[in-house]
Every structure is written in C-alpha cells, then in structure tokens.
Amino acid sequence: MGDFTPVNGLIGGLLIGLAVALMLLLNGRIAGVSGIVGGLVNSKAGDTGWRAAFVIGLPLGALAYILVAGGPAPVDVLASPPAILIGGLLVGFGTRMGSGCTSGHGLCGLALLSRRSVVATAVFFGLAMVTVFLTRHVF
C-alpha cells in the first residue's frame, strides 16, 4: 500500500486505548470485540444490554469520523466473495475457540500482562502474515 500515516495511527490508537481503559474503569470489563459479540450470539439472560450497546457504538463512532472527515468511507475489501465468506467463518470460529481477537488478546490481554494473550497474539499475527504472503506473492 505504501501510504504510511503514523500520526493518524497514533491518535486513533490513543483513542482505542482510552476506550479499553474506560470499559475497565466503568464496567470492570475487558473490551474484547469477539468476546462481546460472541456473548450476544450465545447470550445469558440479563447480559445482552451492555453488549448490544457496545456493538452499536462501534459503527456510530466510525460514522462520526466519516461525517466530520467527509468523502467516501475508507473501506476497501480486496478479497473475492468466497474468500470473504471463508475468512469470516474462520475469524468468527477461531476467535471464539481461542478466546479473543486483536482487541481482547492484543490490547486488553497484553495490558494485563497475560501469558495466554502474548502467545495468542504472536500466533494470529504470525499466521496472518504467512497467509498474506501466500495469497499475495505465491498463489
């Protein structure tokens, strides 16, 4: 891609860190997106409200940025339709089996200095890099 934007990246990252910190300070919860969505898929009674609210907040925050920045929404999905469907299944199944995703393990887990999260983060970053290498440079 070659379009390196460290300042926007850092500002966005600081906001994500703030969101994760506030979730622990206010609700005492880990802000892991796969865990929050997964809990909606397989919901225990009385647990749905805050999960749904968090999930609704994500696209609303993105909408606020799109409205302020203007222009087309910055989302380019380059994968083919079959790859999108297989990728979605793998991301959904894998994050539930592995108990977390980039936010739950990669941010919250690392902030908790969890050994499980360090290992999980290394595994999913490693496999994602191998997959991109194979799909872009080999096949």
């Binding site: 460290p6 926007n8 990252g13 993105a62 894998g94």
Partner: protein, 154 residues
C-alpha cells in the same frame, strides 16, 4: 446499575469505533498493507497498537489498583492461565481468516456503517462462525421457560 453500564458501553464502543476509523485500520486494505511484510510494507498498524498500549498498560495498572469498577461491584477478568490447544489452534484459524480478508472483529463491526455488501457478508459469516463454535462446543443459548434452561448446570 444496569442502565448506566449500558450507556458506558455505548460510549466506549463509540470512542473505539472513532479511533479505528481515524487510525485507518477500519480499512482491510491498510491492515493487509501491514501484514504484507515482504511487499510495500505500511507500518501504521504498529503505531495504532503502540498508541493503544501506551494508554491501556498504565491505565489498567491504576484501575485494577482500585477496589472495584465505578459502575459494577467487581472486575470480570479472564481466569484461565493455561496455554492449551484451543488457544493456539483458535488463534491460528483466526490468523488465517484475518490474513485472507484483512478484517478482525472490531473493524468489521465498525465498517458495517458503510453498508458495503462485502462488509455485511463478512460480518454475517463471522457471526455464523461464532454460532458454529457455540454449537460444537455444546454451549446452548439460555431460553426462557424451556426445560433445557432449567436443567443447564450453569
């Protein structure tokens, strides 16, 4: 206490989604630009993770030093510390899916706002994968008034 917690979660989701959009990481093409270490590498994702950890690591230390969260009676933290097969295999499957499309769960859910068929298809597929895992691992949704729920050990 439930209503303040719902508004708090809405606000946290909003800030999270805003951060994802500003950072550029809501765009799978940019994420793949980071993962493509042998191509024209875009290091932005490292700045996003770095920025987030810069806040989260000290904040978690300070917050967990308090007795309890502001709106709940206790912290709900993961208790499992074992490095087991599900952790490794699940993370590996997730990594392959992430590399195929460039979407992990947070950015995919935030990007639903674009209404793009590719995003909606990915999220529907992801939720199906989650439901499939719940079904295979024997988790059952709690149904009100059903005999299943009454006999469920949890």
């Amino acid at each position: 206490m439930a209503v303040p917690r719902i508004f708090a979660a809405l606000g946290c989701g909003f800030i999270f989604g805003l951060g994802l959009a500003i950072s550029g990481m809501m765009n799978p093409a940019r994420v793949i630009g980071f993962l493509d270490v042998t191509g024209s590498w875009d290091p932005t994702l490292a700045f996003v993770m770095g920025g987030a950890l810069l806040v989260a690591v000290p904040a978690y230390r300070l917050i967990l030093g308090r007795g309890h969260p502001a709106l709940a009676s206790g912290f709900s933290l993961p208790a499992n510390t074992r490095l087991d097969t599900s952790l490794i295999l699940g993370s590996a499957l997730f990594g392959v899916g992430w590399g195929l499309v460039g979407f992990c769960p947070g950015p995919a859910v935030a990007a639903v706002v674009t209404g793009l068929p590719a995003v909606l298809g990915f999220v529907a597929s992801m939720v199906t994968g989650m439901a499939l895992h719940a079904w295979i691992s024997g988790e059952r949704p709690v149904r009100k008034g059903s005999s299943d729920a009454a006999s469920d050990p949890r």
